[in-house]
């Protein structure tokens, strides 16, 4: 039993540098395996729909991007960042990037678009 047990530590921390990371000015890189925004490399994708089938959040829509086969378009406003799509893809076309800072003013802005090389297309949110 005692009073003010934390006092010594409290006073000590007055003389230490604070533990705060001054985000957004200062950023510590996210760990290697972070499950951030999933993106699809269309050059690998064969349009098999396995990703859309297994996505628990129905965040993947197979959309016509002007190529022969439909390609996955991600709705990040629904995505649970679980990485199942990357696991399910037989061609390893989907990678979970380390990008996590996705805040946006509108939900329409949270939809992935077709990559360079193919026709750009924006999929409006329903």
């Amino acid at each position: 039993m005692g009073l003010a047990k934390m006092l010594p530590e409290l006073i000590q921390s007055l003389f230490h540098k604070p533990a705060t990371i001054r985000f957004p000015a200062e950023r510590v890189p996210a760990p290697e395996g972070l499950r951030g925004k999933p993106v699809c490399d269309f050059s690998l994708c064969i349009g098999c729909r396995a990703c859309a089938r297994d996505c628990p959040a129905m965040a993947i829509e197979m959309a016509d991007v002007g190529e022969k086969l439909p390609k996955p378009v991600f709705h990040y406003d629904r995505c649970a960042f679980c990485g199942q799509c990357a696991d399910s893809c037989p061609k390893k076309a989907i990678t979970m990037t380390r990008e996590y800072d996705l805040a946006s003013f509108s939900r329409a802005g949270l939809t992935s678009r077709a990559r360079e090389g193919s026709q750009r297309q924006e999929v409006a949110d329903s």
Partner: protein, 308 residues
């Protein structure tokens, strides 16, 4: 001309503007020290001012259940009471607006008044949290008021006067002899001031996790700003009073000394806030009767003995 000078005193220096700004400064000191003790960076120095400005520009809402007249009138009165209390304090080489032999009593009276106003503020806000908070504020008021007054009386006894400026002079002259004697009273008065300002461990009346924000729960915008300013002003008065009576550095260092001793007092209050858990309202009362009051009485007895 006299009238203008008085108005200046009332509104600018040492009145309203000075008190409010100094209060906001002390709030920053308190928050910063508190944050640093928790390994955090804490708010920038201008934070309290911006908080206040923002509150003034927010929408004013009068809840349906509140009494509209009381709801508007009480916060202003609360601030007025706290500022008035300060006008009776001499500081930093300036004498008070109206020094007279019993001004210590007047200051304590105005401090008490603002607590009672807080009770009304909560009671008429029409929120159950406000009511519980108000009842607790009054219960707590009974607990800390006695030790606060007793411990403030200790230097008064030593100096043999009720006038703050006289006590101050006597204390400053005999600081090395009197300070050890008054240490006990100083500690008790810091603790009771903590209670008076409703801060941890005596923050049951505003306990966030129990009753949201107690009496302030329903207040928004300007009215909330007034109450908050009144609390800051009370902090200035409390810190000023203690620094006047116990740590009269300003007799040596002038204005700077006053600032320093106020910051020292606020530092003490912050340390208290950081190192304890909140006490239940019953325990507050109990601790007051069991420890604070006996110790403040002991402090007084010491003072009487020293004076012989």
């Amino acid at each position: 001309m006299d009238f203008l000078a008085d108005l200046f005193k009332l509104l600018v220096f040492p009145g309203f503007l000075f008190v409010v700004n100094f209060g906001l400064f002390l709030e920053w000191v308190d928050r910063k020290i508190y944050a640093r003790m928790q390994h955090r960076v804490g708010p920038p120095w201008y934070q309290p001012w911006l908080d206040t400005i923002k509150l003034f520009t927010k929408e004013d809402v009068i809840p349906e259940k509140a009494n509209p007249f009381m709801f508007t009138f009480l916060p202003v009165l609360d601030l007025a009471a706290a500022v008035t209390a300060f006008l009776y304090l001499p500081f930093g080489g300036f004498s008070s607006v109206n020094p007279f032999p019993g001004d210590l009593v007047v200051v304590v009276f105005f401090l008490t008044l603002s607590t009672l106003l807080l009770f009304l503020i909560g009671w008429y806000s029409g929120s159950p949290f406000g009511r519980v908070g108000s009842l607790r504020a009054v219960t707590q008021f009974l607990a800390y008021e006695v030790p606060l007054v007793l411990s403030l009386l200790t230097p008064a006894l030593l100096a043999g006067s009720w006038s703050i400026s006289t006590i101050k002079i006597v204390m400053a002259q005999n600081l090395s002899r009197f300070l050890p004697v008054t240490l006990l009273a100083l500690a008790v008065s810091l603790l009771s001031l903590q209670g008076k300002l409703l801060r941890v461990p005596f923050d049951a009346p505003e306990a966030e996790t129990e009753i949201v924000a107690g009496p302030l729960t329903e207040y928004t915008g300007r009215r909330l700003a007034f109450i908050r300013l009144a609390e800051r002003a009370e902090l200035v008065v409390g810190a000023g009073l203690i620094s006047n009576l116990f740590l009269p550095f300003d007799k040596v260092l002038g204005m700077l000394g006053f600032f320093v001793s106020c910051v020292v007092v606020v530092f003490g209050l912050s340390v208290l806030r950081a190192s304890f858990a909140r006490l239940r309202i019953e325990d507050t009362t109990l601790i007051s009767w069991k420890y604070l009051i006996p110790f403040s009485a002991l402090g007084m007895a010491l003072a009487i003995m020293v004076r012989g």
